[in-house]
Subunit: 323 residues, 2 copies
DNA sequence: GTGAAAGCGCTAACAA
DNA sequence: TTGTTAGCGCTTTCAC
């Protein structure tokens, strides 16, 4: 910038004004400065600007698992909102590791992000208290954080699962299987609770033999479903608590054309072209990202308090062209 | 940092050394400094460190469409490599707009990213020449850039399409439809060329009535496929140049159980549970991100020249439990 | 409307 | 092993 100023025969400050489009600069000078900028191939250093002005022009997005398209979709929505505000998003992933979460979150804060959207991998986020107090707001996404007062944007996991299972019970299903991942994951515990709520409400007791946990992959869910189908008293319906479970269950059910009603939490690509009709607990992933970003920006802009958003779910049909 | 130094009764530089884990500091001083850091709740400003040292600790990833899971998967792989090097990824998307691409790319450079992985939306990236010359390497991803000497990591679109269509021809298909998006998109033009190559090699001429372009959505592909099926001379096979086309074609074919062999470019979730066997031109998306990131880091580390990686494809079976 | 000087928070270079 | 000084590139403050 010094060189540009010298080249254009103006002061540093005038160059700064031109670069930042500030008013009260003579049109002729603007011309001259711009010419010098072009001639010298000058490129402003946004880091230095940020350092001096104290402004923050990025936000951090810390997912739990970048290979999960769900978080990616949310990240895309967050990015759209951020770019609309002239900010950009630094993206990282804890890969479900609490230590990595902590390291990355603190690292993002060191980079002076204006705020942080965080999918907690660990139980305790009190390590961020200092940052929040120092003016870096945090919004929890998908799971509530622990040990830290902050906004949270969640899906109505329990309500969605409850509605899905209540429907199956209403249709007369007595033996409903539940396929899910580890109950230590917040969303899984909530969805299982919704399942149990529906049974309790109907005055029924689920068969413990039909509840299968720790299914991390579609293949595991497929094997579990096959075992259930081959058991003495197979289920007449199955509730799959995430899309990996649903896909696995279908891989077991479709080839043998088993008589099992399928309801799954989470929509997925191609659910439309399935040969049989299934029910899906759907929600608006984009909206989740948008709400999280807007909440964060509201905090950045100084709004106080902390709130918890519970995004609604709805039961929809998928597939079924064959029937 | 001044406060920490004062609190610990040491100089600024000693605090700096402790923070950066530099050697040759007395253990007792390290203790004292760390105690002061904790007491004062000090947080290092990575921007200032970066400004002074000239080091760069982020890379930019500029996708063309964040809602496309393909780019997200690549971004995840890039992020993994970057974090392994202690760097982080700033992510943005041009949403297929050349002007937005330019603005965002230059903005990332102003943020002093150490390098840029770019999916070109426009034809011409010569606007980055200054940045590249000034030491910000660029790697093109998925599409080659224009007007700029830089590495590119591409899929073997043409070869993959050629192999797929050659196989269909070998199996005796004469009337093969081609469903694809806009030929102005590099990958689409290449895949179409592969299709034509296979015909030329076999000494055949494709029926122009069976080549349908500008299918941006599964719904458009479905409609196109329906029209083809209802025409006087329907195709006996279809090659779908991307997964949106494949999904749309299946939505038309499966409900009427039409006798059409399906081959598609790009794998997709749930391809496994399709009721009929299809062929897919598959490739390693993760590897694409890894190669791009590693190429970028090699340039950052000073390797010279520019190379073009052509990632291989392979033909695989999907679905088909029903037959 | 324009410019000079100070300083954001840190690290490099050099000195002790 | 520790400290001093200068300065990264920019914006702020305030004077003109």
């Amino acid at each position: 910038m010094v060189d540009v100023a010298a080249d254009a025969g103006v002061s540093l400050k005038t160059v700064s004004r031109v670069i930042n489009g500030q008013p009260n600069v003579d049109a002729a000078l603007i011309e001259r400065v711009n010419a010098s900028i072009a001639r010298l191939g000058f490129h402003r250093n946004a880091l230095a600007a940020s350092l001096r002005s104290g402004s923050r022009d990025t936000i951090g997005f810390l997912a739990a698992d970048l290979s999960n398209t769900f978080y990616m979709t949310v990240a895309a929505a967050v990015s759209t909102v951020a770019i609309g505000r002239g900010m950009q998003v630094i993206m990282a992933s804890s890969e479900e590791d609490a230590r990595a979460e902590r390291t990355l979150a603190l690292d993002l804060c060191q980079r002076r992000v204006g705020g942080l959207i965080l999918v907690p991998a660990g139980e305790d986020q009190s390590y961020l208290a200092g940052e929040v107090a120092a003016g870096t707001p945090v919004v929890f996404l998908d799971r509530p954080g622990g040990g830290l007062e902050a906004d949270a944007v969640l899906i109505d996991n329990r309500g969605g699962a409850h509605a899905a299972v209540a429907e199956l019970l209403r249709y007369g299903h007595e033996r409903i299987a539940l396929l899910f991942d580890s109950p230590s994951i917040f969303t899984m515990a909530e969805r299982r609770q919704g399942f149990l709520d529906a049974f309790a409400e109907a005055g029924r007791i689920p068969d413990p033999a039909l509840l299968v946990s720790d299914l991390h992959t579609p293949a595991a869910a497929r094997d579990a479903m096959e075992r259930l189908l081959e058991a003495e008293h197979p289920p007449t319906a199955v509730f799959c608590a995430n899309n990996r479970s649903t896909i696995g269950a279908l891989e077991a059910i479709l080839p043998r054309d088993a008589e099992v009603a399928v309801t799954g939490f989470d929509d997925f690509e191609l659910a439309q072209v399935l040969p049989r009709r299934i029910r899906i607990v759907d929600y608006d992933t984009d909206r989740m990202g948008t709400v999280a970003a807007e909440t964060l920006f509201a905090r950045i802009d100084g709004s106080a308090g902390s709130s918890r958003f519970l995004l609604p779910t709805r039961l929809v049909d998928r597939g079924g062209y064959g029937r």
